[in-house]
């Protein structure tokens, strides 16, 4: 129970602290609370089964993913504390909304009932509608908020419709219930069952920004404040993917032949759109948006496998993606503050202006490509390894070709940062929170190589 309680309480506390005299203490309070939440998640304190009358189960899977989500959110909150995190909404409110959204994310990795899945998605998304528009006087930010809201509402509608159809077909809301129903009626599955499953896949496809449901992503990522984009592209995406995995592996493991081909199709399309789209971008945030889409494609491949090994592979992939993406947006937020435009060329000569930032950016991009010994490599190794084990050879070869393509665009910021001369000679000092965020992520990308075993043990 405790994690579900402490996060909303923390959110409200932070929101109120912001109103009163404690304005300067909001971020420390938020961070402290998140540390406590991380500890609770790791040790699963007060999270015994059955939870919420069997609506959720805080198993190893939930524990591992909650930790990841809480840490990523904490990093985003840290970034709020720098001048580059400033928007038209007070920091405290931003932090409160982020934590509120995190509550939904935690629900998404621990649900056992489709109602909780729906609630989780809504709680995750609604604060983001506000946060995306946090720059009230900025047209792009407003556009982002509106686009995200409309698309999000549409996606949730489809998801809810899918849940309804599935209930109509099976009479079940729980994951186990659906699984055992499907097993019992494996010969004559109701058309409503298939339709409901398809709608669920599409609804979640929106949330992970899989093609062809990705159209909102570049505009929203570009318009939203960078800190919010960092949160969206890490925590929100990872929570949605984790929810997706939980759904497929718990409710529909026996009927994998019915949905696997849909997922493969989505993965191929997503990889194509993400990689070719990224090649064509001139702006860094849009590049990262398409990078996020292409990684959604790899994550969809990860969903095709089941069991402990698959969950561990998904976690490592997600953690590496999250850490690398967080670095990218933290770096971008810092440059944005200097007002150097949207283009990738803003990174020019970064090595001279801030060596640490340039190193972190290099590590981040190399990890996103999948160069060892960084976490991104191990993510790809395990995800592709599982897929090969399942005989999805053509899909893996396709994924490999797409990864090679990734080199062509992930190197663009690196080339700017390392091989081009700076346009401005001005030194780019980093503030303490930025250094902490970058350091944690860089260390994490290396540490993921050292400790995959303990990750697999956690599931």
């Amino acid at each position: 129970m405790s994690l579900y309680l402490i996060l909303p309480i923390l959110a409200v506390l932070v929101l109120f602290a912001n109103l009163g005299r404690l304005k300067s203490a909001t971020l420390p309070i938020a961070l402290l609370g998140l540390v406590v939440a991380a500890v609770l998640a790791v040790f699963r304190l007060g999270l015994d089964h059955p939870l919420l009358r069997g609506m959720a189960e805080f198993d190893g899977y939930a524990s591992a993913f909650s930790l990841l989500l809480v840490v990523l959110t904490a990093l985003a909150v840290l970034l709020l504390g720098t001048p580059s995190g400033k928007t038209d909404i007070p920091q405290g409110e931003m932090a409160g909304l982020l934590i509120l959204s995190l509550t939904g994310a935690v629900m998404l990795v621990s649900y056992t009932n489709l109602v909780m899945l729906f609630l989780g998605i809504e709680i995750l998304s609604i604060p983001i509608y506000v946060l995306a528009g946090a720059k009230k006087r900025d047209a792009g930010s407003n556009e982002a908020a509106l686009k995200y809201f409309l698309n999000g509402a549409f996606a949730t509608g489809i998801l809810l419709f899918g849940i309804g159809l599935l209930y109509a077909g099976t009479g079940q809301f729980t994951l186990e219930g659906i699984a055992s129903w499907a097993q019992a009626n494996s010969s004559g599955l109701h058309p409503l069952f298939h339709l409901g499953l398809l709608f669920l896949l599409f609804g979640l496809g929106f949330k992970v920004s899989a093609a062809p449901f990705h159209f909102w992503t570049p505009d929203v990522y570009e318009g939203a404040p960078s800190v919010v984009t960092a949160y969206m592209s890490t925590t929100v995406k990872i929570a949605a993917v984790a929810a997706f995995f939980r759904l497929l592996s718990r409710a529909f493991p026996g009927v994998a032949d019915r949905w696997a081909w849909v997922l493969i199709l989505l993965a191929v399309l997503t990889l194509l759109v993400g990689n070719f789209g990224a090649l064509a971008q001139g702006g860094f945030k849009r590049l990262m948006a398409y990078s996020g889409i292409s990684h959604a494609g790899y994550l969809l491949i990860a969903l095709l496998a089941q069991g402990r090994m698959a969950a561990g592979a998904l976690w490592i992939y997600a953690a590496a993606y999250g850490a690398a993406t967080m670095i990218a947006f933290a770096a971008w937020a810092r440059l944005e503050e200097e007002g150097e435009g949207d283009a990738i060329e803003a990174f020019a000569g970064l090595r001279a202006r801030s060596p640490f930032l340039a190193v972190a950016l290099g590590v981040s991009m190399l990890s996103l490509v999948g160069v060892p010994p960084l976490g991104g490599f191990f993510g790809k190794l395990f995800v592709f390894g599982n897929a090969v084990g399942q005989g999805l050879i053509a899909l893996v070869v396709f994924g490999v070709v797409m990864s090679a393509m990734g080199m062509a665009y992930y190197m663009r910021p690196v080339i700017q940062a390392w091989f081009r001369e700076p346009k401005k000679e001005a030194h780019l000092p980093l503030r303490a929170p930025e250094i902490v965020v970058l350091a944690i992520c860089v260390v994490a990308l290396f540490a993921l190589a050292a400790a995959p075993t303990s990750v697999f043990g956690a599931f």
């Binding site: 090994m309 490999v400 070709v401």
Partner: protein, 482 residues
């Protein structure tokens, strides 16, 4: 343990060096390189004779997936490790010649690449192999991209995308073979040797590995990145690429590819032989048309690599022996030649052949060293190049006389190439203003060591042949083609 030291000393040293100022970094990197040489020599001294793996180390890494950090040296690894520890200091000497404010990073990258190369030659686990394979790539990309010539950015990006694409295909191959290793599944070399692939799939997986190795060497038709990259990279990077990185591919072929898919390879052997031999002739012909010294060396190197590959592809102990000898010989001579070109360029102000003639008149020592290195590259008897090329051609002739003939043609063209170069640059009339080359002691020493060790190896290649023989026999036993 010794193997781990060989990797850790340059790696840790390389990271450390980057934090220092240039002068301190220079001293430390020299020390680190020297220490690595000492450890390698220590490994030689305590080698003893006979077959088997030495200085092995295996630590569980990801037991769930059967990944272990396994390294060790055998008779095939050690010569290449020795070559690496000798060439890395030459790259450092070249880096010392062009100092700028950020040189300490360059020294660090060179040492990091040294660690990656040694790791590649020592890896006994496919994931570890892949890890070092990429670790050897990233530093040289930054070296070429940062300190390279005018067109460095597009050229190095092409190089990077090319090689990473190859690596990723190999990664796919590794994962595929892993899926067919006998239980408990793993990534170790021995489990890869015994993996039972479906016969229909084996040629494709062979191709996945072959592409990665062919790009790295490179052999025809995967060589299009090479000439530009060698040309644009700074001399220190070019040496690393030509003398060492090219050997990674051939080593991978011998250690991983051939013993894993012997049956599929036999079916495709003529294709592989043809690609190698085409490279020999093609490279020599294109080199004849170059007037830039670096480009000439790049194409000549491509030609030599083709011959090495073809000899190894002929699958016999003679070809394998020739491959090992020639890898070392070529590494020594090409490193020396690139060093000489850089010295030449810094004094003459140009790399164009024929721009200045008659250098030998006033620079006797330099000319002698250069000619010695060039003769080894040609493969004149009593040089190491002869020992290697003779064995390679002999082995090719056992597969088919025409293969050897075509390979020999390339070698003859290579001789024409170098002799012409010597004639046009070193001999001939002495113009009014031939610059006098003042060699620094380190440069003279490096050139001398490279030239003399090539000679020694040519006169007396027995230790190298005896060292590598048991390991090569073991590999051939796996292939079943003695």
């Amino acid at each position: 343990m010794l193997t781990l030291l060989l990797i850790l000393i340059p790696l840790a040293g390389g990271l450390l060096v980057m934090a220092f100022r240039e002068s301190a970094a220079r001293a430390i990197s020299t020390l680190v390189a020297a220490l690595t040489i000492l450890v390698a020599f220590w490994a030689c001294l305590s080698w003893g004779g006979g077959p088997g793996l030495r200085f092995g180390l295996s630590l569980a890494w990801v037991p769930t997936w059967g990944i272990s950090f396994s390294i060790g040296l055998d008779g095939l690894s050690l010569p290449l490790v020795l070559l690496t520890v000798l060439i890395a200091p030459v790259a450092l000497i070249l880096a010392f010649r062009h100092v700028d404010r950020r040189s300490s990073i360059l020294y660090g990258l060179i040492l990091a690449m040294e660690a990656g190369l040694i790791g590649v030659f020592a890896a006994r686990d496919a994931v570890v192999f892949y890890l070092f394979w990429e670790l050897a790539l990233v530093p040289v990309y930054f070296i070429a991209g940062f300190w390279g010539g005018e067109k460095r950015v597009p050229v190095t990006l092409k190089f990077l995308v090319y090689t990473v694409a190859g690596s990723l295909f190999m990664l796919f191959g590794i994962l595929y073979v892993h899926a067919y290793t006998s239980a408990p599944q793993g990534f170790s070399l021995s489990s890869f040797y015994t993996a039972q692939l479906p016969p229909a799939a084996a040629p494709w997986i062979l191709a996945a590995f072959a592409v990665a190795f062919a790009i790295k060497m490179p052999i025809f038709p995967f060589h299009t990145w090479q000439s530009d990259t060698y040309h644009e990279a700074p001399a220190s990077g070019t040496i690393l690429l030509a003398a060492l990185m090219a050997k990674m591919g051939l080593y991978g072929v011998m250690r991983w590819m051939l013993p894993m898919f012997p049956a599929s390879f036999y079916a495709l052997q003529p294709v592989f032989l043809a690609l190698g031999v085409i490279g020999v002739v093609w490279g020599s012909l294109v080199a004849l048309a170059q007037d830039d010294m670096k480009r000439l060396l790049a194409w000549s190197s491509f030609s030599h690599t083709g011959l090495m590959a073809a000899g190894v592809f002929s699958l016999g102990i003679i070809g394998f022996q020739g491959g090992v000898v020639q890898m070392v010989a070529h590494g020594l001579s090409i490193a020396g030649l690139f060093l000489a070109v850089d010295i030449f360029e810094s004094h003459a102000g140009t790399r164009r052949i024929g721009a200045i003639s008659g250098i030998a008149h006033r620079n006797g020592a330099f000319a002698v060293l250069f000619v010695l290195l060039a003769l080894s590259a040609i493969g004149l008897p009593l040089t190491a190049g002869f020992a290697g090329e003779f064995l390679l051609l002999l082995s090719l002739s056992k597969v088919g006389l025409w293969w050897a003939f075509a390979g020999g043609l390339g070698v003859i063209l290579g001789a024409v190439l170098y002799l012409q170069w010597i004639r046009r640059s070193f001999l001939g009339p002495e113009p009014a203003a031939v610059p006098a080359f003042r060699l620094r002691p380190t440069e003279a020493g490096a050139l001398g060591v490279l030239a003399v060790s090539g000679l020694v190896l040519g006169v007396y290649p027995k230790p190298l042949i005896e060292l590598s023989r048991p390991a090569l026999d073991a590999i051939l036993q796996l292939i079943g083609a003695r």
